[in-house]
């Protein structure tokens, strides 16, 4: 995660942050007309930009995706609370792929296993992004998780998983030739996976998939908050750490462990 800060000392990566944001916002704006939930989400084929730029430009992509969301919302007149959680969700959308698909750094042609890795990394990033935005807006009481969270996840999964491998194949050669690939800017350190990658990826996957499932169950009121408390108490051997949270446990509280797992996993990968 250190490279997210150290990249601000590299002019080339700072420019790539702006390029990622501009291309993402430029692809977002025409589709503002294809609104799914007015004021909050629309059809977004442009979500493939943060994921493919993540694999190519590494730490520039999460900042670029976060800024791109702000620029798109600002120019589209939709700047609001949604933008705050959109910023966070899109940051993860740009962060996860390059951390997960690190072994691809030197490959011009990713091959079958490489393509599978890209698709899995994009799927994970898409779910994390949707869970965070869905959780945030439900927390603020703006839109139910079951509506917004699912729409974002499905939209992201559809476009990132299909378009990212295609875009990667078409862009990787030129970006390396122009010395824009993040490993060419940050050096050898950027190529190494962290020692805690294994634990991180497990936490991230459980947090993302668990959060998606739990968010739907709670939002659609298939399980009640009190059921979840009883379940957690049973699992913890009747521990007292959750006894304070009694009564109607909403999506916001119910998803907090998943969000914490996602953050912890993202730090560890």
């Amino acid at each position: 995660m250190k490279d997210l800060i150290s990249m601000w000392n590299k002019t080339r990566l700072i420019v790539l942050v702006a390029v990622t944001a501009a291309v993402y916002a430029a692809l977002m704006l025409p589709f503002k007309l294809v609104t799914i939930i007015p004021g909050y989400t629309e059809l977004r084929p442009g979500v493939a930009i943060p994921t493919v730029f993540s694999i190519l430009f590494g730490p520039a992509a999460p900042w670029g995706a976060a800024f791109g969301n702000i620029v798109g919302d600002y120019l589209g007149g939709m700047l609001g609370w949604g933008s705050l959680f959109g910023l966070l969700g899109n940051f993860f959308l740009g962060y996860i792929p390059y951390r997960v698909a690190k072994p691809l750094v030197h490959r011009i042609k990713p091959g079958l296993w490489g393509t599978v890795q890209i698709i899995l990394a994009c799927a994970l990033a898409s779910i994390v992004c949707g869970v965070i935005i869905g959780w945030g807006l439900d927390l603020l009481g703006i839109l139910p998780f079951a509506t917004l969270g699912n729409i974002i996840i499905i939209n992201n999964l559809l476009f990132t998983c299909i378009l990212t491998p295609i875009f990667y194949r078409l862009l990787v050669f030129r970006s390396r030739r122009w010395n824009l690939h993040y490993t060419q800017v940050l050096g050898e350190d950027a190529e190494r996976r962290s020692r805690t990658f294994g634990i991180g990826i497990i936490l991230l996957t459980i947090g993302a998939v668990g959060g998606w499932v739990a968010g739907n169950l709670l939002s659609l009121q298939i399980i009640e908050g009190s059921d979840l408390i009883a379940l957690l108490q049973q699992a913890s051997g009747g521990g007292y750490f959750i006894e304070g949270a009694s009564g109607s446990l909403t999506v916001s509280w119910g998803l907090s462990p998943a969000i914490l797992m996602i953050i912890a996993g993202a730090i560890l990968i």
């Binding site: 000392n9 002019t11 080339r12 944001a21």
Partner: protein
């Protein structure tokens, strides 16, 4: 959809940092109540701000959009909130009156947030916005990157238009066919556009380094803004308004349901 209006309303003369702070305060303010009547008052206030800022006509031009937002909010919250108390039975589904009222409140909340975004972006140029953020403590490089992103958006469109014309001359029309075909038809248009933008990024980073971008000395700005009485008064009004609203909510007013 949004663009800065060349106008000289009192809001245009406010310090950019004041406007950014007011935006942040308003984001909190809009979250305090969930009762439709209280939200109606907040929406009325934003309409007045739009009138002062000269952006009311622009804001009004999206009235169909607001109507869709209001209907969607009522529908979604009525379906997803299972609240106790008086309810209607619609198509075998229990729809609580409080959920409908909450939905109306949420619709008005969304409309007021969008109206505020309209007046903010209409009265604040991009340079002023990033200047305001920098004055509030955003690091220079981050502010630079954000303002560069704003500036690059039109050039991305320009490039895309050029590429599209070139491809149309060769017989490829990405605007043909159904919605899904159109989306995937844009792939051959997007790749050259992205590549052009990346090449310019490469040149831009070289130019920036030549001009001493990497230096870590304190920077000066060509644009200078001064904080005046108007800024102090505007901020004071927002702080008082927000504090009063929080006090009212804590006293139990302005809520249909006990949530944000």
């Amino acid at each position: 959809m949004m663009e800065e209006r060349q106008n000289s309303s009192p809001l245009h003369h406010l310090h950019p940092s004041t406007k950014v702070l007011c935006l942040l305060l308003f984001l909190v303010w809009a979250m305090v109540f969930n009762h439709p009547l209280y939200h109606l008052a907040i929406t009325a206030l934003v309409v007045i701000i739009n009138l002062i800022g000269g952006s009311f006509r622009r804001a009004l031009s999206f009235w169909k959009f607001y109507l869709v937002i209001a209907c969607a909010a009522v529908l979604l919250w009525s379906l997803f909130l299972d609240e106790p108390g008086p309810a209607y039975n619609i198509l075998g589904r229990h729809i609580a009156t409080s959920a409908i009222l909450y939905g109306i409140g949420m619709g008005l909340r969304l409309i007021s947030l969008i109206l505020f975004a309209v007046v903010f972006s209409s009265t604040t140029p991009v340079e002023a916005f990033t200047y305001g953020l920098r004055r509030l403590g955003l690091p220079y490089r981050v502010g630079f990157s954000l303002s560069l992103a704003f500036r690059l958006v039109p050039s991305v469109y320009q490039t895309a238009k050029m590429v599209e014309s070139a491809q149309q001359a060769r017989g490829h029309n990405p605007r043909k066919g159904g919605p899904l075909r159109r989306i995937f038809g844009f792939v051959p248009l997007m790749i050259p556009t992205i590549l052009y933008t990346l090449r310019s990024a490469n040149n831009l980073s070289l130019a920036l380094e030549c001009k001493g971008f990497g230096l870590k000395r304190k920077r000066t700005s060509l644009a200078r803004y001064r904080i005046g009485w108007g800024d102090i008064l505007t901020l004071a009004l927002f702080i008082v308004g927000l504090s009063a609203s929080i006090w009212l909510r804590l006293k139990g007013y302005g809520a249909v349901i006990d949530r944000l």
